[in-house]
Amino acid sequence: MSESNVVQIMAPVTVVGDIHGQFFDMLEIFKIAGYCPDTNYLFLGDYVDRGLFSVETISLLVCLKLRWPSRVYLIRGNHESRGVTQSYGFYTECSRKYGNANVWRHFTDMFDFLTLSVVINNDIFCVHGGLSPSIHSIDQIKVIDRFREIPHEGPMADLVWSDPDPDRDEFSLSPRGAGYTFGAQVVKKFLEVNNQSHILRAHQLCQEGYQLLFDGLLSTVWSAPNYCYRCGNLASVLEVDYHGPLYYNVFEAAPENSEHRDAAAQQQDTGAVVEYFL
């Protein structure tokens, strides 16, 4: 709650991308990259929605944060919002598991307190989505009033929503009629102005589990393997050492998921169950 909108932390730290309620795959991360508090963690947001276990996922993360507040950091993603969680599953999961929406209400109230960005070693800028045309200097993030629902427009929206576009140089408007993409010159200028060497973000699915863009100046980390239990993609966490280079620790879906496959199929219609459709 008292965290700044830009939290400064030091390596070593393991950075985790989107999880989306894939609780057993998150447990796999702790097995692979180490348990708290022996390993420090930075989570880049999108803890809930889509997967079957958003409640379990966010509950464990909040407990870890409360137990080791200076070893676990949670950034807000675009799914940590009242509006989005009503459309993509967290609201429905809470209503089903608890019989009413109170738990959803308390969690989404809590989301308003999550920080927006983290800087590792004064050198690596971490955010859920990307850059904003309203933010030139990292200091400008500090003055955002973040204790609110994520708005549709403005710098707070851009930080959780925008995507890089490797084929362009500047900011461009999305064809959807809202939102930006940011290009190569934007990234270079932002790093230069703020004396940073790298931008680290999540937000976009990649089949290989991570993706480097703009000659390695920006990376996307994705931590939900076999996303939605059907994408067949890999996932990764990014291990940042104090002196060493970045290491992408790639992993596959946890074996426990198969036990829940039928439940997933029934709930999400993924087809393990034979059906007399017409």
Partner: protein, 269 residues
């Protein structure tokens, strides 16, 4: 800065199925979403960015070697029919407010990423191989009474072709269901789109094959209604149920009026 091993693609495991009935062969392929190299290639071919979950290596195919006829359903050919002119382009619900707000702050940003139908709406009805036996318009309906019988299902599959969350403004999904019984088969390819606050859209292609006679009937049905109309019709339901109902394509399908209907038939036998 990175000391990671070179980028490795996910293992290319195919969990598709196959069954043969007489001269008819049915095959499904279910593989991982495209990797970054494959996405680049598809982007070049299409001229637009593919949907965020792109199952470009998935397909459903029905073939008859003796009759030299086949039909297949795949993502690339479905996406080739998406409008790339920007003419039928929808805007998200809060677009106007967003534009007004941003114009005051960032007048300098004018470049729009090439306009195209980012909802990936398609009227794709499968790709037919063998032009010697073209489909003809018909009044004949798919014999649903035969399909309602609890005949044993020799093969059932549900194959995703693509899905996109429209940047948190709803969902677009194209998938193909197939069930093969001893004497016939049914395919349902469904495109379902919900643009929050704006529109619901459904494009169903049903393909029926009677193995014994070689009769093939294809029915294409488009349904559409405004978001407000559908939402207003749901007020009899408990508020906690509404979000999941709005995601349920079968539930929504029955509530959307038909805007286009075509039936075609070909006798191959």
């Amino acid at each position: 800065m990175s000391r990671s091993p070179p980028l490795q693609a996910a293992p290319n495991i195919d969990v598709g199925k196959s069954v043969t009935r007489g001269d008819w062969k049915v095959t499904t392929h279910k593989r991982p979403i495209l990797n970054s190299t494959e996405i680049e290639a598809m982007t070049t071919t299409l001229g637009i960015a593919p949907p965020e979950m792109i199952f470009g290596n998935n397909s459903v195919e029905v073939s008859n070697e003796k009759l030299n006829w086949s039909i297949s359903f795949n993502a690339l050919e479905a996406l080739e029919l998406v409008d790339k002119s920007g003419e039928s382009m929808l805007k998200v619900a809060y677009s106007e407010a967003w534009q007004k707000m941003r114009e005051r702050v960032h007048e300098d940003i004018k470049e729009v990423v090439k306009p195209y139908d980012w909802t990936y709406t398609t009227n794709y009805q499968g790709t037919v191989h063998n032009t010697n036996r073209p489909f003809q318009q018909t009044g004949s309906e798919i014999p649903f009474d035969k399909l309602k019988r609890p005949d044993p299902i020799l093969l059932f599959d549900d194959v995703m072709l693509y899905e996109d969350e429209l940047a948190d403004n709803g969902i677009s999904i194209l998938s193909v269901k197939i069930r093969v019984m001893p004497e016939r088969l049914l395919i349902l390819q469904r495109f379902f789109m919900r643009l929050d606050g704006v529109l619901f859209r459904l494009r169903d292609t049903r393909l029926f094959i009677e193995f014994g006679t070689g009769e093939v009937i294809r029915q294409y049905q488009a349904r559409e209604d405004t978001y407000a109309n559908v939402r207003n019709g749901l007020c009899i339901h408990a508020p906690e149920q509404i979000p999941s109902l709005l995601r349920d394509d079968s539930f929504i399908a029955e509530r959307l009026p038909v805007v286009e209907l075509e039936r075609e038939r070909v006798l191959l036998g």
